[in-house]
């Protein structure tokens, strides 16, 4: 496997924007050109080779190594290709991404997959707030694609989410699916307060919860066979989705009744 390998040389003092480093943006560039790409560091413009040792070939994608928690916008607007990160990353990972795949062997910070349009993001550890949400000032959150978090997520998962799938194997904090418009959020662990507050449509699937929020209406039990259908589609994307919905005869809550009330929260157990 041949990757363009970027290894962080030193600890960063200021945050940097790595949005210009996606496979589709540098596909025809020589390695010397890549090394001389300019990024803003503090108040200065510096060449990327000041921060990273760069080697290898961009055949299978980009491999980033090191503690990149001050590196933001990795995979920004990416259309195609693969980025693998061995270490933690900063904010706005996969921001407005349109295709391809990003895998983080570590944790990501806030706004991961913000306004994601298509493609796949996999985080093996934890993520911060606003996962799959809208970027600030925008009307729509993620509108396609799949985000998988194997650890925990922060507040406001899927804020203003419009479409696509967010899957969190661990826990998620408050305001999950807040102002959600459509899409699917699946959380296997525990959740915080105010799940589905102000959601208009969309589906939040939880493992085992008792919900008593006044803005939700209990809708009884029924057989939701669509879960098996989306499971079969998701299985083609990742093995993580195998057997995620063992049971389709489940409880449903509808809400937020103060909005349209068409959002649904399904409880698997």
């Amino acid at each position: 496997m041949s990757y363009l390998v970027l290894k962080l040389k030193k600890k960063l003092k200021f945050r940097i924007n790595l949005g210009l480093l996606t496979p589709d943006k540098i596909i025809n560039k020589e390695i010397s050109t890549i090394k001389s790409l300019k990024i803003t560091y503090g108040k200065e413009k510096k060449e990327i080779s000041n921060f990273f040792s760069i080697s290898g070939k961009l055949k299978n994608g980009i491999l980033l190594k090191g503690n990149l928690n001050k590196c933001d916008f990795i995979g920004d607007n990416m259309k195609d290709g693969k980025i693998i990160i061995k270490g933690d990353v900063g904010d706005y990972l996969g921001n407005q991404m349109k295709g391809g795949k990003i895998t983080v062997y570590g944790s990501s910070s806030n706004y991961t997959g913000a306004s994601l349009k298509n493609g796949e993001i996999l985080i093996t550890k934890n993520t911060g707030d606003f996962l799959g949400s809208s970027i600030q000032g925008e009307k729509l959150g993620m509108s396609g694609g799949v985000i998988i978090v194997k650890g925990n997520a922060g507040h406001r998962v899927g804020f203003k989410m419009r479409s696509g799938v967010v899957y969190i194997k661990g826990n998620a904090k408050d305001f999950i699916g807040c102002q959600m418009i459509a899409g699917t959020i699946i959380i296997k662990g525990k959740i915080g307060f105010n799940v589905g507050l102000l959601m208009k449509r969309g589906t939040i699937i939880l493992e085992k919860q008792k919900l008593s929020a006044p803005y939700l209406n209990y809708n009884g039990k029924n057989n939701y066979i669509f879960l098996k259908v989306i499971q079969s589609y998701l299985e083609k994307i990742s093995d993580e989705f195998k057997y995620i919905f063992p049971n389709t005869y489940i409880k449903k809550y509808l809400g937020d009744i103060n909005c349209k009330g068409m959002g649904e929260i399904l409880i698997l157990k």
Partner: protein, 297 residues
């Protein structure tokens, strides 16, 4: 050519291009699966008056269906994409949507697509919900029983309609028995359907009629009761003819089905059956010609 005493006529079946869609129906039980499949393919023997030709293609294991339940694949053929879309909308809306526990999915992949759930969804009166996973989209339409799940669009492709064989024999009973055996064998082939009742048609037609309003009429050359007054293709001892019509996605599988059908007839019914022929219109109607002797080589 004579196989086991049965003459294979030196002729060909003439077939024409059609548009085809494969739908996968799933349900909680085999009973409701068959109810839905039989209804959606009902009254679809010939495009002459039914709007489309349809039939059950095969059963599908639960591990191969999108929702993990047992499924049945049905094929629907029409003369053009527009006509097919119209028939699919009507038939799915009236026969699958209405059948308890069923769901409906596209069973083909091609660039040409027609509406499926995207048209039926309006039945949900605004309460319908879509789910999109990458390029796959389904609709969940609330119904009195729960939810009807249907894929947004279905692919269609080019198909072939009108492959056929004519079984000619000296008694009604023998010809019917041999046709039934042939149908059983031909149904084992994928990508084809036999659209007529039980796969067999007794009223094979010719193009045109003495009555101006009719586009097709009885194939008098093969009617045993008209041997004395028409330009018959039957011998004096021939008393019965039955036809098996085959529609398929490709020429290869139609040929294979014809071969399997003729083989079983020649193997097991050589006493009652005298010859195998095929229906054609002199090669002027359709571009697909299935020459019996080439198939049986």
């Amino acid at each position: 050519m004579i196989i086991n005493g049965i003459k294979i006529e030196n002729t060909f079946a003439e077939a024409f291009p059609m548009k085809v869609v494969r739908l996968i129906i799933t349900a909680d039980s085999k009973y409701w699966l068959k109810q839905a499949a039989n209804n959606v393919t009902g009254f679809a023997t010939s495009v002459i008056a039914c709007g489309c030709e349809a039939g059950v293609e095969k059963e599908i294991k639960s591990s191969k269906t999108p929702d993990g339940r047992s499924g049945i694949a049905v094929l629907l053929f029409a003369m053009d994409s527009k006509g097919l879309a119209k028939q699919v909308l009507r038939r799915v809306g009236q026969c699958i949507l209405t059948s308890p526990t069923t769901a409906c999915f596209s069973g083909l992949e091609s660039n040409e697509k027609i509406n499926l759930g995207s048209a039926i969804r309006f039945f949900g009166d605004g309460f319908q919900v879509s789910k999109k996973i990458n390029d796959k989209k389904i609709w969940r339409i609330p119904v009195m029983e729960g939810e009807f799940v249907i894929e947004d669009k279905t692919s269609i492709t080019n198909g072939i309609g009108g492959g056929n064989i004519l079984i000619i024999g000296n008694s009604n009973g023998e010809v019917l028995k041999s046709a039934e055996a042939a149908v059983k064998e031909m149904k084992k082939v994928n990508n084809i359907i036999l659209p007529f009742p039980g796969g067999i048609v007794r009223s094979g037609s010719k193009v045109g009629s003495k009555y101006k309003s009719l586009i097709a009429s009885t194939n008098d050359a093969y009617c045993p009761t008209l041997k004395g007054i028409t330009k018959t293709k039957l011998s004096k001892s021939n008393e019965s003819v039955l036809e098996i019509v085959i529609d398929g996605i490709n020429e290869k599988d139609i040929s294979l089905a014809m071969k399997k059908g003729i083989n079983i007839i020649c193997k097991k019914f050589n006493k009652g059956i005298k010859s195998i022929s095929a229906g054609n219109y002199g090669g002027k109607l359709g571009p697909h010609h299935f020459h019996l002797r080439d198939i049986m080589k």
